[in-house]
Symmetry: C2
Subunit: 467 residues, 2 copies
Amino acid sequence: MTLLLDALAAAIGRANVLTGDDAAPYLTDWRKRYVGRALAVARPANTAEVAAVVRECVAARAPMVPQGGNTGLVGGGTPDDSGRAVVISLQRMKRVRSLDLANDTVTVEAGCVLQEVQQAARAGGRLFPLSLAAEGSATIGGNLATNAGGVQVLRYGNARDLTLGLEVVLADGEIWDGLRGLRKDNTGYDLKHLFIGAEGTLGVITAATLKLYPLPAAQMTALAAVPSLACATRLLERSRAAAGAALTAFEVMGAITLQHAVETLPALRMPLPLGEPWYALLELSDAEGEQHATSVLERVLAGAMDAGEIADAAVASSIAEARALWRLREGIPEAHARRGGNVKHDVSLPVSCIAEFVESTNAALRRRFAWIEPIVFGHLGDGNLHYNMGTVAGTPIEVAFAHEQAINDLVHDAVHARSGSISAEHGLGQLKRGAIVRYKPAVELELMRRIKRALDPLGLMNPGKVI
Amino acid sequence: MTLLLDALAAAIGRANVLTGDDAAPYLTDWRKRYVGRALAVARPANTAEVAAVVRECVAARAPMVPQGGNTGLVGGGTPDDSGRAVVISLQRMKRVRSLDLANDTVTVEAGCVLQEVQQAARAGGRLFPLSLAAEGSATIGGNLATNAGGVQVLRYGNARDLTLGLEVVLADGEIWDGLRGLRKDNTGYDLKHLFIGAEGTLGVITAATLKLYPLPAAQMTALAAVPSLACATRLLERSRAAAGAALTAFEVMGAITLQHAVETLPALRMPLPLGEPWYALLELSDAEGEQHATSVLERVLAGAMDAGEIADAAVASSIAEARALWRLREGIPEAHARRGGNVKHDVSLPVSCIAEFVESTNAALRRRFAWIEPIVFGHLGDGNLHYNMGTVAGTPIEVAFAHEQAINDLVHDAVHARSGSISAEHGLGQLKRGAIVRYKPAVELELMRRIKRALDPLGLMNPGKVI
């Protein structure tokens, strides 16, 4: 294998082929659930170098693991422990290749951090709306490989929906230049959608042409206390009808989830008493201005109050207050982590099933595990819940971890029974590659296998992930 | 082949296996450019019958041509003249399977006419926004197979973007049930995007779960006279910035195109003098009401007037007036047809290239063909032009048809040089299957071929189309 190391060094420079301690940060996922080994970590600087690395790996029959910011949650970017794989890190490919304001597009390389893409758009007076907790370190290439979601999917869609074109290094080292900035192009099979969300198992995404939007003139944020998830669903419907596409986020958080957050992170403040079981965070992005946004939001909230859909509401009256409301939502994962974690599920359901799903699945879990405590939050507007399970006071979280598989199976079976998804936005990676076989129709798994064989006949692209 | 006819009759009833004169309407496309032959036309009533038809065809190695409303423009639904194919008409599969208002989704069978889908949504107080000239006879299955576009793509996307789930009968007769109503689902390769836009070459779409939207409270329409396409592009940018997602259509029409339309169709009236070279048709869909929509639209138009982007504008003050403005736009294809047709191109470009493309391509065409007259209109908001070529007064249109190939090559080369698409919304079918080989990278064609072989190894699904 030193032959391959030499070939990689010849292709991209020895300084960009990391081994030993230098490689270590690339071999563990950030939640520290997976630790792999690798022959080397290759850090190519451009598309031609990625192609050269892939060709050398193919020649040596070495498995390849593409990696972006290494912020994934399912081990999709971590190699197995065989030590044979080459991790291909895209982090050096950071160019914004072009910004076309009249076309509302930007073309960026895969290693650009999501926040850098947002900033490049903003510098041109445009919005790139993909937004998620890890945006300060996740790369756009990783966002695309996992079809990232986040908090504005309700309005702007997933990473997939924001992509017009891709450049991909294929499994044989050929480069597919599909970097088109077109809203309409019906000239054959849509290949970009095959690579987006494939978690690097069909090729290496090296660049993308992305959609931009006008910057909103104003954003208004409110937190509403809701008596039930059913009420939250009705509030969502009311908000969409009144605000149309101006409704850019609709999040829900359980009272227990918020209570843990404010207890654990002293910087967080609840602007309302924690007296209702659920809280909804609404964001309006308005093309006109603050006054108009305020009038729409207040009309929605007044109507919801009259209809009994909400018990109370706080509207942020400054950017600082709006940020404080968002910090409540964004602080939840950190608060969870500080409290020792919990058993996590990233599920989606038809919005019409969410309230019934939570009620009956909570009850089923409590019947089986008397110590369980649901710690739920998520993107109600997209039918996506982070339906996580902790333990009641007095029971250490380790008890939940000891029953993780049983909890997962119960939750995922309940999701499947309602035609939901067991991985709404995080992907399959290593974590759910086995579980998905339990739920996907055999016909669909077979289609996936045929596509994998057609595009990666040697099976070298990120083996052991997805399929 | 009578064996296959008997087998089809046994599977779906002899009355639903058409031959001879009964089959004739299915063997010609509606523009009468393609006339094919077929062993039979099968009209299955449900998904199981489609699967049975496919299995019998596979057993007999008979090619299959899926067909919806037979309104396609590229011969994608017409069989070749071998007489061996079985046309599979989906027209009997017309059920609305379910309407989920809280989830904003509807599940319909492929043979539902687009207008029926729109009506089912409207009956539930929702909008299904796909809208195009043939909506009274085109089926949703055909819309999906061709990834139809239309007039509201600017806001809601193409047919692809409106689809959450699909049911497909695969090339071997297996049924893939991918009918999910989920906004987020990252559990493997996105198969639905492979079948959408594949024009029936990978399988037969039998049903779909589609996204619905709130009905707008009001719609406002205006026609603006613009001194140039560059001004129209700036007006588009201004409108998007001011109205955000409320801008649901932005069409442009050349003055000559409009002049032909009003001369040919007496029912059409121009509300403005035909003194400027271009006219833009804007539509705002407002979540609040008419008063708000009017104020936004008037602000946009006043600003554009001050900036010199428009010379004049007419705002529809009633639904009847709005319909009259839209009829100007919608009457164009009929007016073209009555005047003997023209040489058509359905191209898309980055919006930033449109003005320069039209100017320089018009000039190049006129240098080569002194008698040529551009008759251009299209969806500027999507960068999609119907860049059609007629002849000046005194020159019969047959002269243009005699030079069709040379005109096509000049136009398509100019589109390709600007990274555009030679088929924005109509697909490839038979018409552009050859042309695309001139423009697609070899790597991309090879990927398409590999996918075709993986999903349809016998090559029986709509052969001779797309690839």
